[in-house]
């Protein structure tokens, strides 16, 4: 009887462990080549951009194909800023959550409210992680404005691609936990680039 009880207990613990593991595990979306086989023409164009090796070329290609960052399916394409990370899951989730909450459909203060709620950045919570994530969203907002200006024809494809490329690089530094001093140097460069095309 005792042996039976121990056996049953063992089975219960085993099942519970499997369940907990299943709940806790997440899956990183990949640049699936299966999905790339879609026959849709715009999809083909988009995938062509993804096959380019140099980041600025991919960005320029997307601008030319009018592929806006906020329209991207992040289950298919890993965001540029998350690509070089060793564990990109949290980064991809951040992008997905912005899309889910439609932060980019808002303007002005509503947009800021959406960003802050998403990353939990407030007067009461100024933790480094929430500040870094908030900066990612602010840079994403800036990127959206460059895309808009490019679509309106006020910034060329080349200039827009260079600016967005630098924005992505800064986002990567922020996500890579680089120190403030390193980020500031690139931010100053970004400011110069943006002001030169305004």
């Amino acid at each position: 009887m005792m042996k039976k009880a121990i056996f049953i207990s063992f089975i219960v613990i085993l099942l519970a462990s499997v369940l907990v593991y299943a709940i806790g595990s997440g899956e990183i979306p990949r640049n699936s080549s299966m999905k790339a086989n879609s026959t849709n023409t715009s999809e083909m164009k988009r995938m062509d951009c993804e096959n380019l090796n140099i980041r600025v070329d991919r960005i320029r290609c997307r601008l030319q194909n009018k592929t806006r960052e906020d329209d991207v399916d992040y289950d298919v394409r890993v965001p540029e800023a998350c690509r070089t990370l060793r564990t990109p899951t949290a980064c991809i989730s951040l992008y997905k959550n912005v899309q889910r909450d439609k932060c980019y459909d808002h303007a002005g203060k509503e947009k800021d409210r959406c960003f802050r709620r998403l990353v939990g950045f407030s007067k009461n919570n100024t933790s480094e992680l929430s500040a870094r994530n908030y900066m990612i969203l602010l840079l994403y907002g800036l990127e959206e404005r460059i895309e808009n200006a490019n679509e309106a024809g006020s910034i060329s494809d080349d200039d827009s691609a260079k600016i967005i490329d630098l924005i992505v690089e800064i986002k990567q530094d922020i996500l890579d936990n680089k120190k403030r001093a390193e980020i500031v140097v690139k931010l100053n460069e970004l400011k110069k680039m943006i002001r030169s095309v305004q």
Partner: protein, 65 residues
């Protein structure tokens, strides 16, 4: 002996249920944190590139030197 087995089973079940309760609580707390409201005066009115740049300049102060 039978009584002893039942006691062991109950202890195991309580431990498993406690683990689940702890996990659920942890996840609920994290969601609550992410949806917390902040005072209205904190929000930036994003209208220009400079509005974003200024917000970035302010926020970078919360990042390690």
């Amino acid at each position: 002996m039978k009584k002893q087995s039942i006691v062991i089973l109950i202890i195991v079940l309580v431990l498993v249920l406690s683990a689940f309760a702890f996990m659920n609580n942890k996840s609920a707390n994290s969601e609550e944190k992410n949806t917390g409201q902040v005072p209205a005066e904190e929000y930036k009115d994003f209208q220009t590139n400079d509005d974003y740049i200024n917000a970035i300049d302010e926020t970078i102060n919360y990042i390690q030197q």
